[in-house]
């Protein structure tokens, strides 16, 4: 068990190292270099003295690895990503201000997703080929095929514009979080409903179900004590992966609902060519994603008795 965690921690470090190289390396793909950009934005005098000074200040004339070493040192030790051009303050401050909102949105959506997907998925599997199953399957199929941001816009149109029950955009009260949460949770719930149904239907066809039945165990008991735990294993590995999709999704949802989070900041950073802010965003998102996946893996090994007792497959 602890050996597994240690191994995972090592691979986590390697992944984060790769991510940092990619994120930092991307600045080298830039069509223009930052010093050039800065000079143009300040008025465009190409005084060689000024250029040299700026190059020294930004360190753009040094070799890649030296620059990378400096950058990563700042990132790891101080969480320092430099100055955001757009907000004119350290990227660190911008992130500290906005990231909690995004994490809040992602976590609440994740919980909502679970609360929607599990009951409906179970219902659909238990009542296979009955009316409830058909309705759930139809809805989830449409949900999977629908752009989630369009769903969000329709929610705004119905609940904010037409009915006036909820605020159109913003992030100040609990009312503001309802529609962004539903939007984020919708698409993902639908794919989970389909997945949970498929896994549970497969389990329900196994021989041990007949065994349980013949021993006179009640239907509810079989479903919740035998089928569900066995199905859970297949679903839980998906959860970590989808958290990444959720984080990516926050960017669009935040833009649609003007949610005061890091995703919206990053969208504006892209058009403003605020590269240090984009670097900060990518690193933080990657970091959260990797950590969540580690937690999922650990919880997976707690749930699966084969791994828990050190009897890992093969």
């Amino acid at each position: 068990m602890s050996k597994m965690i240690r191994k995972r921690l090592v691979s986590l470090c390697i992944i984060l190292f790769g991510l940092s190289i990619l994120t930092f390396g991307l600045t080298y793909l830039l069509p223009s270099d930052p010093v050039e950009e800065l000079i143009t934005s300040m008025g465009g005098s190409h005084d060689p003295e000024v250029v040299a000074k700026l190059e020294e200040q930004y360190g753009t004339s040094r070799p890649f690895w030296e620059q990378y070493a400096d950058w990563i040192q700042g990132v790891v030790l101080h969480g320092d990503f430099g100055i955001s051009v757009k907000y004119n303050k350290p990227v660190k401050e911008v992130i500290a201000q906005k990231l909690p909102n995004t994490v809040k949105l992602a976590c609440i959506s994740f919980l909502t997703m679970i609360l929607i997907a599990f009951p409906l998925g179970i219902l659909s599997a238990v009542y296979k080929d009955r009316v409830a199953d058909y309705i759930i399957r139809f809805m989830s199929f449409i949900g999977v095929s629908m752009p989630s941001f369009w769903f969000g816009m329709l929610l705004i149109w119905i609940f904010a514009v037409r009915l006036g029950w909820l605020p159109v955009a913003g992030s100040s009260s609990w009312k503001h979080i309802v529609m962004p949460t539903l939007t984020l949770a919708m698409g993902m719930s639908c794919s989970y409903i389909r997945r949970i149904r498929a896994v549970m239907v497969e389990q329900l066809g196994e021989e041990y179900i007949t065994g349980c039945r013949s021993r006179g165990i009640g239907k509810m008991r079989i479903i919740f004590l035998h089928v569900l735990p066995n199905s859970l294993l297949a679903v839980i590995t998906m959860l970590g992966m989808s958290f990444g999709g959720l984080l990516g999704g926050t960017m669009i949802v935040e833009t649609v609902f003007s949610w005061n989070g890091i995703g919206q900041v990053c969208t504006t950073a892209i058009s403003a060519r605020d590269y240090s802010l984009i670097q900060g965003y990518t690193m933080w998102m990657g970091f959260i994603y990797v950590i969540v996946n580690l937690l999922v893996d650990i919880s997976y090994s707690f749930i699966d008795p084969r791994i828990r007792r050190g009897m890992a497959q093969k």
């Binding site: 992944i15 790769g18 991510l19 990619l22 994120t23 991307l26 600045t27 793909l29 830039l30 069509p31 199929f141 449409i142 999977v144 095929s145 629908m146 752009p147 941001f149 369009w150 816009m153 329709l154 705004i156 149109w157 514009v161 990444g244 999709g245 984080l247 990516g248 999704g249 960017m251 669009i252 833009t255 649609v256 990053c266 969208t267 950073a269 892209i270 058009s271 590269y275 984009i278 965003y281 990518t282 998102m285 990657g286 994603y289 990797v290 996946n293």
Partner: protein
């Protein structure tokens, strides 16, 4: 029993035929946009701004008085073609890499799998966004970024499929019979692997279309006046009070095309392995 099977197969073929015809119809709408569109998608009619659907303008007009129906047709051309292009690129690259890795094994296999581990360890969407924002906004860059992150999925699937086929007895027999590696790969492995990959490819087109419309909503696709479904929605959002049709039609078109391609993927799945029916 046998008769029943063939009947369900027949049904599956009919379903496939109908869906394929519908998908082709949809595609030809987009491809022949220049012939079918009643107006120039970029032409503004300043006297007819935000006109409701019906009459001269089938789907109404937008804030600049441009015909929404024509814009949707032209938008389909770019949105659908990009979805096809991206799916074609990532599936062919991924399948070649995955097949070779699975077949050859060894260091090559190890290296490729580590690279794809690495790419899969990041949230793909965020990576795509970061990539586009660094190399610049625009269509070719969007396709490039989506391809760079997308191929790993196919590499993994085709690798595992090849591994499951590779150790079959008939492969060994072919080898004993003196078949070369290439021959085994082309005559035995690829024909066995391709059908299930085909299912994945068709099921993926809809997903790519959704990703593309999301990216174009964020303004990462082709720059504004060019009609694109995702971006049309972000414009529509600002006018939902006065012109809800700007919000409804582009979204509906995305929904319908994704539904079509998803159904098509499912029906191909039914044809390939009728036992695991999704219906």
């Amino acid at each position: 029993m046998k008769r029943k099977m063939s009947l369900s197969m027949k049904k599956a073929w009919i379903r496939f035929g109908v869906l394929a015809a519908l998908a082709l119809l949809f595609l030809s709408f987009a491809l022949f946009a220049s012939v079918l569109a009643p107006f120039d998608p970029l032409e503004s009619h300043y006297t007819d701004m935000l006109k409701a659907p019906g009459g001269t303008y089938l789907f109404g007009t937008d804030q600049l008085g441009r015909d929404l129906f024509s814009r949707i047709l032209y938008g389909g051309k770019s949105s659908l073609l990009i979805a096809f292009a991206v799916t074609a690129i990532i599936s062919s690259v991924g399948i070649v890499i995955g097949t070779v890795a699975g077949f050859a094994g060894g260091i090559f296999d190890n290296l490729l799998m580590r690279i794809s581990d690495m790419l899969m360890a990041f949230p793909g969407y965020i990576f795509t966004i970061a990539l586009v924002s660094f190399i610049g906004v625009g269509l070719p860059n969007m396709i490039l970024a989506m391809s760079l992150t997308g191929w790993t999925f196919y590499a993994r699937i085709s690798r595992s499929l090849v591994l499951s086929v590779k150790n079959n007895v008939y492969i060994e027999q072919a080898r004993l019979g003196g078949a070369s590696n290439w021959k085994i790969l082309i005559h035995y492995i690829i024909p066995n692997v391709l059908p299930s990959l085909l299912v994945n490819i068709f099921q993926d087109i809809g997903g790519e279309l959704l990703t593309i419309s999301g990216l174009s909503l964020l303004g990462l696709g082709s720059p504004p006046p060019t009609p694109e479904w995702g971006f049309m929605l972000s414009e529509g959002k600002d006018y939902m009070y006065s012109a809800p049709w700007m919000l409804i039609f582009p979204g509906l078109v995305i929904l319908i095309s994704v539904v079509l391609f998803n159904l098509l993927g499912d029906s191909i799945q039914d044809l390939m392995n009728p036992k695991e029916s999704t219906w």
